[in-house]
Subunit: 387 residues, 2 copies
């Protein structure tokens, strides 16, 4: 097990009706808030009205930033910062899924930064003071409700970049699984794939003696596989929505990565697909993952793919380890198909012409330390296999 510094300070209010704590949570940090949200889904499910009533009843004043897009844009971040500065906002309340929370995080950091907020995306070390962030989650996927990360896009330059800072961890998050009852099947599927990808990114590593991290990751994956299907078949199954929601937070809040050591590779590859084609992040991940797995399987990595097959998919441990590994990859691929996710890049409108450019941009020096080390040519091969 590697050394690590653990810090997961976000308070989580999990379960039915937890919005009752909203006013008390906010008042710990201020009385003037920015409500950041996306499209109209929070109005459709009644959450917006419920929230506004609580704010009014408790004399919390608010301004709004609506229309935060999936793959949130730097222009929207700039707009949010302007609203906060003009209104002396003290707390940023993000209501929505990962895109909304990510956007809110960089707004909260940008309010306390003199320059242009794109600096904070390209240079996370420039982040310092951050307005307190509170979230109400309505989509189980990115884990942004309990982590320090944000991904922001500049579509004018086809850049989609991740940033992060300890101070961007939300102070508190309200996780009510009932808010996800109305999430459509395709978004539930993409969210489940995103959660699973976060787990894969840390689980596939060469670190010895990380039994606790491994078994926790495997349990989370089994929960995603079981409850992802149930949530799609029966969107109002509370335990399914609850397990997916809690898995989304655990997948990336540090619990399974502390003590391990492996750089992420599939996310950076997918970010290029989204930056050029604005596709749904989870869909891109689900398409790439089985191909990345196949490409990464060799004598040095088969041990972990076999472990994955046995402990997550229940494959007979007495089979040949490569047979187990290949079956596990096949099952992963089949599972995403069963969830109704496209399985090729062509299906989401991606053609061969930009693959080379995207592979070039996805490449990062730390890829040489990946579970299976990758160079630009390897990435291109994975893209082509996924086409």
């Amino acid at each position: 097990m590697e050394n690590f510094n653990y810090s997961i300070p976000t308070k989580v209010y999990f379960g039915k009706g937890q919005i009752k704590n909203l006013a008390a949570i906010i008042k710990e940090y201020g009385n003037k808030i920015l409500i950041a949200y996306g499209g109209g889904s929070i109005k459709k499910i009644g959450l917006y009205d419920e929230m506004i009533k609580i704010l009014n009843d408790n004399s919390i004043s608010y301004v709004e930033l609506s229309g935060i897009e999936p793959n949130p844009r730097i222009e929207t971040v700039r707009k949010g910062i302007k609203i906060c500065k003009e209104n002396n906002v003290e707390v940023v309340l993000a209501v929505g899924g990962g895109s909304t929370i990510d956007c809110a995080k960089v707004i909260a950091a940008g309010v306390k930064y003199e320059g242009d907020p794109w600096d904070l995306v390209t240079s996370p070390q420039k982040i310092n003071e951050v307005l307190p962030i509170v979230t109400i989650l309505t989509l189980s996927a990115t884990g942004s409700e309990m982590d320090p990360h944000a991904v922001i896009s500049d579509m004018t330059t086809n850049q989609k970049l991740g940033t992060g800072h300890e101070n961007m961890k939300p102070k508190a998050s309200i996780l009510d699984p009932e808010y996800t009852y109305s999430v459509p099947k395709n978004q539930t599927a993409a969210g489940t794939a995103d959660i699973m990808s976060h787990i894969f990114e840390t689980y596939f590593n060469h670190t010895k003696g990380v039994d606790i991290q491994d078994s926790t990751a495997e349990g989370l994956l089994r929960a995603c596989i079981k409850y992802g299907k149930i949530a799609i078949e029966n969107p109002k199954d509370y335990d399914a929505r609850a397990n997916l929601m809690w898995a989304s937070s655990w997948a990336i809040n540090g619990l399974i990565s502390y003590g391990t050591n492996s750089p992420w590779v599939v996310h950076p590859m997918e970010h290029e697909l989204s930056a050029f084609y604005d596709i749904t992040h989870g869909v891109g991940l689900a398409i790439l993952t089985p191909h990345w797995m196949k490409y990464s399987l060799d004598d040095t990595t088969v041990f972990k793919f076999a472990q994955y097959g046995i402990n997550v998919w229940g494959i007979d441990k007495n089979l040949d380890k490569f047979e187990i590994a290949n079956k596990a990859i096949e099952k992963t691929s089949e599972f995403f198909k069963e969830l109704g996710i496209p399985s090729t890049l062509r299906e989401v409108g991606i053609k061969e012409d930009k693959l080379e450019l995207m592979a070039k941009k996805a490449m990062n020096p730390y890829f040489k330390y990946a579970f299976k080390p990758l160079d630009e040519n390897d990435i291109l091969k994975i893209f082509k296999a996924a086409l």
Copy 2:
């Protein structure tokens, strides 16, 4: 899954050499500290000298409370509070195992309380302000390094009681597995049993839809079983000590209990054994646990004992569920024996004469909500079976 409010604010510095962060951690809260510790083991392993050098080099002034006993006494708490008040201590640094940390917690709370600290043990709601607590862990067992609880004894009245408060969670804990290399075999065994008992207390519940909590608990139990043995055979196996240490924190910091609902029963029973006979807590737990399991096994509980047998002990899932359950209980009992822990109360000097009185004192109204509801007579039967 049940509703829950998650809060695990303790920062953990885990791994080799993490003591290098000690001064920075303390200085966040003050410059005058109380060092609380037990016998001489921290001097034997060189930790005391290492720590004092860091304090001196960083102009942190300190006073000391040594000699904190296993099953720490209220008299020692009073002594610690007096030292803190006389010296305007700002931070309490606990260096040792659970007993030392528990004692330090009630000292830190008692400094800010006007009355006698025994009030804070009998009435946790009287705890309010608490001096910042920092810990350096030297024994993997109680999980006190990352939780709000403390257990304090008054041997003059044979009372051993648990208390707890959100503000008693340590601000930071240094967890260096190398500090546990010199823990003797019997303490390693008792510590492992304590960790496993914490997991059992929450794992055996009737809550539906807690797959994430269950699989995490099962993974922790497998880690304890694997690494408990290894640590006893090879005390300087880093990964064994690291997994036991991290398991000790996870077992009771809330990760596996949030969302579940079951009152603890074996710990309250064991506390009576320790209060009357001053035995090692983990030994008492290991003796009682298999008998509590056997007594609790019936048509309403067999599902979970069978799940435990399959997922923790790898017992064939095609067997009859009661057969699986009984085999699992047998394996639990055998495991504790293999660790060298006594398996009867007589072996640790407990005789029949006080069993009735201890059962009476252990009884608590909430035992009727236990996994298998228990009354005073049930407790007596478990004690007698363990004799």
